[in-house]
Amino acid sequence: MIPYLLFATAFGLLLLGIHRKMIARIQRRPGPPVWQEILHALKFSFKSTWVPATASEVLFVSVVLIAIGIWTAAFFVLVTGGSLLIIFAIYMLHKIVEHGFGLSSGSPYGKFGGVRSVISAASEIPLFVSVSAVAIFTGSLQISDIIAYQAESGPLFFAIPLAALALYLVILSKFPSSPFAIVESKEIVSGYKTEHFGVWRAGLETCNGLKTYVLLLTFLSVFVGAIPFIGVLLAMILIVVSLAFVCALCPMLSPFDSVTIQTIITGIMLIYVLYLGAFG
């Protein structure tokens, strides 16, 4: 399992690199090499590491370990076919991690990133809608049961496409340069991660790689079902390419617009799941 965890982290970073490269090519820039995010993680591992004088030291360091810990837990839950509800919980708790990253340093840029993370709480609700729709259809929240259901009845992607779209939007909101990535937009430097450098940033990059892999694998497990491992990797690349098109062609929204649009999407998705509950 540990080699698979390491592979997942590295492949997640590679996916983020492909995402950056695709955005650059769509915008007619050369862009960085696809392995740039892996190089970033390695580079930060060997750079000088410090804790700002104004920071809450224990929280500043602990939050990096918590970030890695929760996504490692999510990975194990996913590959062992555990409860989708736990993945949902970990995804929501990642917000607290972003909040902790931002507030613990004392930097105003980090603080703005952390507060933006909290105010965009509506972006999590579509995931709740996805989980509810899946529960209504399959009668279970165990990922192993959901995969078994799809082996018998076909992919849920075709049965509940709007729930799949909801999860796709959740993944989009967590991708760098997305229209909803207000927590790390450039007017607040790097947002919640501004002050974390050296080993702490390497830890955060590692967490981001693992998070990307886990989210994409969750999407494929829940809406496509069991497919060969090579197929999983190719499907992940395809999803990342589609996300890159959205990120390259849509401007980043202002915090107000981002929250408004996410709230509207959430409202539509809630109506959809109520419809499924009543007539599905």
Binding site: T54, A55, S56, E57, V58, L59, F60, S62, I66, I70, A73, V77, G82, S83, L85, I86, F88, A89, I90, M92, L93, K95, I96, H99, G100, L103, S104, S105, G106, S107, P108, K111, G114, V115, V118, I119, A121, A122, I125, F128, A135, G139, S140, L141, Q142, T263
Partner: protein, 218 residues
């Protein structure tokens, strides 16, 4: 849906109140525990504010007495969150949720900032209103099924819990600090003292995550 968060791993009986640890509730309990330990072990950060119109900045320091009070409230909030994560009783869950709301107000009410105190007051009103559907839901559960035990409620032998109860419980928890009522709470994050302020958002999220399991369990 029985065992939405996985099958219970362990039961702890306190008279007729049973606490249970499923993979889901255990994960949430551990997170509440970790952040409570962090509250105990961390000192608050010193927030930097940029002075507009000048090449200068200021830092906000927290006084010792304020820090002690806020830390006490944050620890109380952590303990209430832990209780809410593992309790197997609907009424206890509502009690712990209300306690979280009170502690959240306490965590920031000591901050000497007009904006923060205004936000805390507004949040307190919303949280207070949220307790009405919360305890109303618990009362209807007791009236319709004769029990408040989540383990008994998950069995198919009892009458079905009315759908309105689930709506009441979710609405009550949302009043304790979830979107869209979260707007009243956002200003509270102006307050310095990251380890304590984080407990405000963490506790609300944990309670929301638990109520999903509670309504699925019924």
């Amino acid at each position: 849906m029985i065992g939405a968060g996985g099958s219970p791993l362990r039961y702890l009986e306190f008279g007729d109140i049973v606490i249970y640890f499923s993979p889901y509730t255990l994960a949430l309990f551990l997170l509440a525990l970790v952040f409570t330990v962090l509250v105990i072990a961390s000192k608050p950060e010193r927030q930097l504010d940029i002075a507009f119109g000048a090449d200068a900045f200021t830092t906000k320091d927290i006084g010792l007495s304020e820090m002690r009070f806020r830390r006490f409230m944050a620890i109380a909030c952590g303990l209430a969150s832990m209780g809410a994560m593992v309790t197997g009783d609907v009424f206890d869950f509502c009690l712990f949720t209300s306690l979280v709301g009170i502690c959240n107000v306490g965590i920031v009410a000591a901050v000497k900032s007009r904006h923060v105190q205004g936000a805390a007051f507004q949040y307190g009103l919303v949280a207070l209103a949220g307790t009405v559907p919360l305890f109303g839901g618990a009362a209807i559960v007791a009236a319709t099924t004769g029990t408040l035990s989540l383990i008994e409620l998950s069995s198919t032998l009892l009458p079905a819990v009315p759908l309105v109860v689930k709506g009441f419980l979710v609405l009550g928890v949302m009043g304790e600090g979830m979107a869209p009522f979260y707007a009243a709470k956002a200003e509270m994050f102006r307050a310095p003292g990251a380890p304590y302020v984080i407990m405000c958002s963490l506790s609300s999220l944990l309670i929301f995550l638990r109520v999903i399991e509670v309504v699925l369990q019924m």
